[in-house]
């Protein structure tokens, strides 16, 4: 038994067998494919070979530069193996005639060579290592780009990996994934967001868990305490089973709240909405008692497939969500790709500082056809329900105006084409950059609503990369500067009669609910599984108390003081949750 301590980012406990993404590369199960997929597999093979070749050339040149040409030449042999047509023909042939995956064909053919080399004179037997090396390199490419790794699961597993890319999580077979544990990441990394959306436990920042666990090991992921227990003993398993039982009872109790309003003890009604990423999550918002979708992230549309989504891809996804909501509000955020949400593979030029780079709305402005395609689809879908549109990462008033102008252009185009659109779709913006927060009064005169994205607002205010495990502890919503910006945004919304929603992770933490309501916030959008717990908290407090808490917090100077004060306050009103 081995216990690893990380950061718990999504609550819950699960006992399950592990799938390890980084150590899986040697275990290539023979996987048959239907004959019509052979071309696709062959294509994947060529793609992986090209990638491996590029990698090797770079490796050779770098090695030559550092250690001399002779040493670099070692990789020439690897390159020659990659270019070996008679070898590649065998692989291609195997894919076609035996209908197997590229992974299996590569492994099978190269191992055949390895066996042959082993029977050769000693100096050739040595080369077996090179063959294994090249096999690994190609497989890494294939597995790295294959979305099937987590797509075709037949039993429940927990996933352990060094890190999960958005495209990996987008393609996960979510029915069978019961928990996530990764080496990298902080509280609000992509993995954390996805885990919370799915309502499965997750622990991040574990440093080396992905190399400490073997595929098939039984693992306990304890998202409450931030622990991963590898090959637990009987007593530990029993202890966690008991905990799970209690948890089930608590959840059942929360479920009873589903149809009750989120209303404070002194009668103030709060609107609880759900954040979703996939259309299939929309139903979950309702079963958890949410009153609509407060943030529909649309990035998955771009990450799911190799090709750019068409207008109809967008439209169909949006319609699914809108129909599931049946008249309840749906707020669609336009493409927010870039930085942590964009896989490196999609980047044409490596940015030195992607968080300050060409991401989100900036990316859209430079890719107008892509942007307009999405807006067309949103406007068309808006006929079907209560849809609003929201622009992310707005930093200057000019950007907002530009986005609105593009929206109007698209609207006119559609009208000219005779397509029915709503011309009064509410337009909002994310408040997630300090410059926008500081200028909120100007912005308030040009939008219908604000949505506070606390994750980015915190990282840009505190200059902390939330995914860098070495500085992640500095990332906190409780910093007085962050709280002041949030308060200003809420006030500005009240003054100009502009709706204010908070859709960041901060809203998911019951610890902050008193403070936020005390500041005047009345609408929150959170991951659906969080809704019942939040509702319970809201139903246990008064606005009067919340205002008192907010006033007191304003007198505190450090995030540590604020966190411990808020924790005590929520414990007093909701002791059973802690």
């Amino acid at each position: 038994m081995e216990i690893k301590k990380g950061i718990g980012v999504s609550p819950g406990v699960v006992i399950c067998q592990a799938v390890v993404l980084d150590a899986e590369e040697y275990r290539i199960p023979e996987r048959h494919i239907s004959a019509d997929r052979a071309d696709k597999e062959a294509e994947r093979l060529e793609h992986a070979l090209a990638g491996a070749r590029e990698e090797l050339i770079e490796l050779r040149d770098n090695t030559a530069k550092r250690l001399g040409k002779e040493t670099g030449a070692i990789f020439d042999f690897h390159l020659a193996l990659l270019d070996d047509q008679s070898l590649l023909e065998k692989v291609r042939d195997k894919i076609k005639t035996e209908s197997v995956t590229a992974e299996f064909a590569v492994a099978a053919v190269l191992r055949e060579y390895a066996r042959e080399f082993l029977q050769m004179p000693e100096y050739l037997a040595e080369r077996v290592k090179d063959v294994y090396d090249i096999e690994k390199r190609i497989l890494r490419r294939l597995i790295g780009e294959s979305r099937e790794g987590l797509g075709n699961l037949t039993e429940d597993v927990v996933v352990l990996a060094h890190d999960l890319t958005p495209s990996q999580t987008a393609s996960m077979d979510r029915k069978h994934i019961m928990g996530l544990a990764i080496d990298a990441g902080g509280r609000t990394s992509h993995t954390a967001i996805v885990a919370r959306a799915l309502g499965i436990p997750a622990v991040v920042g574990l440093n080396d868990v992905s190399v400490s666990v073997n595929a098939g090991d039984v693992v306990i992921i304890d998202g409450n305490r931030g622990l991963v227990i590898i090959e637990p003993d009987e007593a530990t398993i029993e202890e966690h089973r008991r905990f799970l039982q209690r948890q089930v009872e608590f959840t059942r109790e929360l479920d009873l709240l589903r149809d009750l309003p989120a209303i404070t003890l002194d009668g103030h009604e709060i609107t609880l909405l759900g954040n979703i990423e996939f259309p299939s999550e929309a139903a979950n918002v309702l079963t958890r008692g949410g009153q609509g979708v407060g943030l529909y992230r649309t990035e998955f549309l771009y990450l799911e497939k190799e090709t750019e989504p068409t207008e109809d891809d967008h439209y169909e996804a949006y319609c699914k969500v809108i129909e599931a909501m049946d008249g309840r509000p749906v707020c669609i955020r336009t493409l927010d790709l870039g930085a942590d949400k964009y896989t490196q593979a999609h980047l044409l030029i490596q940015e030195r500082n992607p968080f300050l780079g060409l991401r989100s709305i900036r990316f859209c402005f430079q890719h107008l056809p892509l942007f307009k395609t999405q807006i067309r689809a949103i406007l068309r879908a808006s006929m079907k329900g209560d849809v609003s549109i929201m622009f992310p990462l707005i930093t200057t008033v000019m950007e907002l105006r530009q986005a609105k102008m593009i929206l109007r252009d698209v609207m006119e185009d559609l009208e000219e084409e005779g397509v029915d659109v709503r011309t009064d779709v509410p337009i909002g913006m994310m408040m997630e950059v300090p410059s926008a927060a500081l200028q909120c009064n100007q912005f308030a005169q040009e939008v219908d609503f604000f949505s506070i994205g606390t994750n980015d607002l915190i990282q840009y205010t505190l200059a902390v990369d939330r995914t860098n495990e070495r500085v992640a502890p500095l990332f906190t919503a409780a910093h007085p500067a962050v709280l002041r910006l949030i308060k200003d945004i809420i006030r500005s919304g009240q003054r100009y009669d502009v709706g204010v929603t908070l859709c960041g992770e901060m809203g998911s933490d019951p610890e902050y609910i008193l403070l936020l309501l005390g500041m005047g916030l009345r609408t929150l959008s959170v991951a659906p599984p969080i809704i019942p717990e939040l509702k319970k908290a809201i139903r246990s407090i008064t606005i009067e108390r919340a205002r008192r808490v907010a006033r007191h917090v304003a007198t505190l100077n450090t995030d540590k003081q604020i966190v411990s004060y808020l924790r005590n306050q929520i414990r007093e009103v909701m002791p059973e949750a802690y």
Binding site: D84, L87, M120
Partner: protein
């Protein structure tokens, strides 16, 4: 379209081990001609490094190299140069 075939003995210390074999196929791949290498009765593709390795050709082995194609002459003379130059060893 020309065809050339020559016989040559490996004189470098290590014979056709990984590095010389790599150099051989890298050079061979620069030509359009079909290039085959023959040891005893074994005929292999001179452009495939794995095939070349399976020859297990050590120092002193007599190889026949056959080139077929428009640039066969040049291919053969460059390959002879490589082998006679001991693949740049010492």
């Amino acid at each position: 379209m020309s065809k050339r075939e020559i016989e040559i003995t490996l004189i470098n210390i290590h014979g056709l081990h990984a590095r010389p074999a790599t150099q051989f196929v890298q050079l061979a791949n620069k030509y359009e001609s079909k290039i085959e290498v023959i040891k005893n009765d074994l005929v292999v593709d001179g452009k495939s490094v794995t095939s070349m390795l399976t020859l297990g050709a050590e120092k002193g082995t007599l190889l026949r190299i056959r080139a077929q194609g428009q640039d066969a002459d040049e291919a053969i003379s460059k390959l002879i140069e490589l082998i006679e130059g001991k693949f740049g060893e010492e």
